[in-house]
């Protein structure tokens, strides 16, 4: 056996071993999530959320929604937030230096005046130009902050500085929340006994093609367009299986930036959102966990499997590419910032399992997949490997991918069953068969591009264009680089 042969066998075994390792991981996650979902649904049937909404003992919450050039829908979006069912609530809209007429529209619609407000800058941010409150008592919950443009993380930090309450809920202003979303998100903080709950997150679902009236979701539909439909499937898998299993393990590292609640005291002690990364949502959770580990304070990051928040998914490849590119950069930046935790027993589960998992499954997976793909193709080209065998290997990986998606659909049907019609289910099942052929390779490619962009020190969010739920004309969203 020549040296080259030994090398080839080694590399091939590595790829095979890695594939089997990934499959094992997914099987574990899929099966492990079942128990947690069942337990949650049963426990939840005992909860009367109305109690929390009206109780004087309920904790006070501040919702923070950053907005950048949201003029087209800002009035409706704020109205939707103001109608949230929770009495001890403050809604903070942070206008992140919008170039459009967002602020003027808010001032006129909600009878705002520039108030004398002292902003306690616990977290350093860009300059706050003014804090606006309403003269109308109906809008007494509303606080609008106008600041210089500094990006989403900076806007959220301003919101934290302005917030008066112990818990903060950070959301994207154009998200549609379920009526009881805040109640469900807050409850885990109140159930903590031995552990301090530092953050909670809920399931984000895709709202494309859903019926939305006055900022409320009135009918759930499966997206009509292919790309959002494939992402629907992806979200079901990620939230219902992945995050549920991690929550059960106690190793959840990510709470979606679209909707998550945090213990403000810990968030402030950690220094708030990091505006130097494009993955500020994941980075904050990781930093908060790291802080708790380093200070030896027992803690938990909780996750709610109920669909609480609906968001519009990219419907074009161009916008999706930017999103995936950014997600990759955010993941790598976070992993890099907290590399001290990698297989570090001092950080317990976080260091020994969560971090290595993210490193292997989220960071390395697309790279190894991409390199492996090229490697095997080259071998086929040079006749070093049997084509039939390669195809059968590919088929096995493909069928596994489909199986995992079908299992995700099964869990969705058995729990929330949002897409009730047989046609919708069949469409979703069909999507499961084509997702590994379209969305997955696309995601891998743009993850590679994300790696390259990171090496080239690109740090922009990339503009996202959304069609909006109520107004057909396209509008730019809040995402702009500094």
């Amino acid at each position: 056996m020549s040296l080259q042969d030994i090398f080839n066998v080694f590399i091939s075994s590595l790829f095979l071993g890695y594939s089997l390792f990934l499959m094992g991981g997914y099987i574990f996650i899929g099966l492990y999530s079942i128990g947690e979902l069942k337990k949650y649904l049963r426990k939840n049937s005992f909860t009367n959320y109305r109690l929390l909404a009206n109780s004087a003992q309920a904790p006070k919450i501040s919702i923070i929604a950053p907005a950048y050039n949201e003029g087209a829908n800002i009035i409706e979006n704020v109205r939707s937030l103001m109608s949230i069912y929770y009495s001890n609530l403050e809604v903070i809209i942070v206008n992140d230096g919008s170039k459009d007429d967002s602020l003027d529209k808010l001032i006129n619609a909600y009878e705002l005046y520039k108030s004398e407000f002292f902003v306690n800058e616990q977290i350093p941010t860009k300059k706050v130009r003014g804090v606006y409150k309403s003269r109308n008592i109906i809008y007494s919950k509303l606080v609008v902050v106008d600041k210089e443009n500094g990006g989403k993380a900076d806007a959220l930090n301003v919101g934290i500085n302005v917030s008066k309450n112990d818990y903060i809920v950070c959301i994207d202003v154009d998200c549609i929340l379920e009526q009881d979303a805040i109640l469900k998100l807050v409850k885990p903080f109140l159930e903590a006994s031995k552990h301090r709950v530092i953050a909670t997150g809920g399931v984000v679902r895709i709202a494309n093609s859903c019926e939305v009236v006055d900022g409320r979701l009135v009918k759930v539909n499966l997206p009509k367009q292919l790309l959002p439909r494939l992402q629907t499937l992806e979200y079901i898998r990620a939230f219902l299986l992945g995050r549920m299993a991690w929550s059960r393990l106690g190793g959840l590292m990510l709470i979606s930036g679209a909707f998550g609640a945090f213990d403000k005291e810990i968030a402030v002690k950690c220094g708030g959102y990091n505006h130097k990364t494009v993955g500020e949502d994941m980075e904050l959770v990781v930093r908060m966990r790291r802080y708790m580990e380093e200070h030896k304070i027992p803690y938990r990051v909780s996750f709610i499997p109920d669909p609480l928040c609906w968001t519009e998914a990219p419907s074009t490849f161009k916008i999706l590419a930017r999103q995936r590119n950014r997600w990759t950069r955010g993941t790598i930046e976070t992993l890099k910032l907290h590399k001290v935790m990698f297989f570090n027993p001092k950080y317990h589960l976080m260091g020994m399992l969560s971090y290595p998992y993210w490193f292997a499954f989220e960071f390395l997976a697309p790279i190894i997949e991409f390199v492996g793909f090229i490697y095997f193709n080259l071998f086929i080209l040079f006749g070093e490997i049997n084509v039939n065998f390669s195809l059968s290997l590919l088929l096995m990986v493909y069928t596994f991918g489909v199986l995992y998606s079908v299992f995700g659909i099964l869990m969705e049907v058995r729990t929330y069953n949002q897409y009730k019609g047989r046609k919708d289910t069949l469409k979703l099942l069909l999507a499961a068969t084509i997702e590994p052929l379209i969305l997955h390779p696309f995601g891998v490619w743009h993850a590679i591009m994300g790696n390259i962009d990171l090496l080239r020190k690109k740090s922009s969010w990339g503009e996202m264009t959304r069609a909006g739920f109520t107004n057909p004309p396209k509008k730019p969203n809040l995402l702009e680089s500094k």
């Binding site: 080839n8 003992q57 006994s193 065998f389 096995m396």
Partner: protein
């Protein structure tokens, strides 16, 4: 070489097949089974939903009859007095008798009565309890309480409490310190429902934490009871279970138990920061001339979080004598401390505002902005 390795390794596993093909076939079979299962399951859901709709009509009818049964009207309209039992029995259809044998229907009916019972009171509530017994749903409760499933135990206990099935009181009490949180909570709630404030006596011996969520639930139950002079708080304020002390302090605050002032002061020495926090908050509603000097003395020993809270309470209890202490805090680094100290000074009225305006740093940030905010808020 690689070719041989990859081809021969799987062939050893099963002649004629390679491992990836076997794997692919295995996964494909699983996909097929799951797809069939999903489609059948969704069909079953649709059928079940249709059946439940029919059941709900029957259940709603009998519940409505029970809620709106009026014994006085029944007496007026008929020379012979019709009892509740007779009236309901007359309305029980053959169909209802038939489906009452179905365990799932009984559970569904039980839940419906439970939810309805949450929202009604007086005669209507009592009628629902009677209906529950008349339909012999209490037999299921017995079975559920004996079950090994935590879910059934908790459901039975919740039903006993909400539907007010006093005959199960002792059965439920044995779950009062159960290791399962949900069972424990439902049992504690049931006790408060049965015995009012006396039902809180489980706190005497509670070993598990009383979570904030449970405290909210207990307060909700207590809010429906007449405000009476309940006993036991002094014991709970000395409990070794910190969450019991916290709950007791909230009771002191909510029910203004002035006579427990000294015991609350004792809690200021507690080792748990959260307990001290609740004690400070309780002092806000227990007017006493000693409070301000006690808090100013406590201030330097407290954590930053509790110091800010002390200043918040000072806005309600401070007097002229505290001005030097508060004015001194305006020079602190911490802006939150500055803000709360300024608010406490401003709470003294126009004299307080004059003091703030006379501060040497009144024109310097951040005090300048703090004073502006306070002036605007008090305008």
């Amino acid at each position: 070489m690689l070719h041989n390795f990859l081809e021969h390794y799987p062939n050893d596993f099963l002649p004629g097949f390679n491992l990836p093909i076997l794997g692919a076939i295995f996964f494909a079979v699983l996909i097929f089974i799951l797809v069939i299962y999903i489609l059948i399951y969704q069909r079953l859901i649709r059928d079940t939903e249709a059946k439940y709709k029919r059941w709900d009509i029957i259940a709603d009818n009998i519940i409505r009859d029970a809620i709106f049964f009026d014994s006085v009207s029944a007496e007026d309209m008929n020379s012979d007095h019709i009892s509740f039992q007779e009236s309901i029995r007359l309305n029980i259809s053959d169909r209802l008798i038939r489906i009452l044998k179905n365990k799932k229907f009984r559970i569904r009916l039980m839940k419906k009565i439970l939810y309805t019972r949450h929202d009604v009171s007086g005669d209507a509530a009592e009628n629902l309890t009677n209906l529950f017994r008349l339909l012999e749903l209490d037999r299921d409760i017995d079975r559920m309480l004996q079950s090994k499933s935590w879910y059934l135990n908790a459901m039975a206990i919740q039903t006993v409490g909400v539907v007010d099935l006093k005959e199960f009181r002792d059965d439920v009490y044995r779950f009062i310190d159960n290791k399962r949180g949900l069972i424990r909570i439902e049992s504690q709630n049931a006790m408060v429902k049965f015995d009012g404030f006396d039902g809180l006596r489980f706190l005497d011996t509670a070993t598990y934490p009383i979570t904030e969520w449970q405290q909210i639930k207990l307060f909700d139950k207590l809010s429906n009871l007449p405000n009476e002079h309940f006993t036991g708080v002094e014991i709970w304020l000395r409990s070794e279970n910190d969450t019991v002390v916290i709950f007791a302090l909230k009771l002191v605050r909510t029910y203004h138990r002035f006579e427990l002032y000294d015991q609350v002061l004792e809690c200021l020495k507690h080792k748990n920061e959260e307990v001290r926090k609740e004690a400070i908050l309780a002092l806000k509603v227990l007017p006493n001339p000693d409070t301000a000097p006690i808090l100013t003395e406590l201030y330097p020993k407290e954590t930053e979080k509790n110091q800010i809270l002390i200043l918040d309470v000072m806005a309600y209890v401070s007097s002229e004598e505290d001005v030097p202490f508060l004015m001194n805090l305006l020079n602190e680094e911490n802006n939150h401390v500055k803000m709360n100290a300024a608010k406490a000074i401003a709470s003294l009225g126009s004299r307080g505002m004059d003091l703030l305006e006379s501060h040497p740093n009144k024109g310097v940030e951040p005090l300048c902005q703090i004073i502006a905010q306070i002036k605007e808020e008090s305008a």
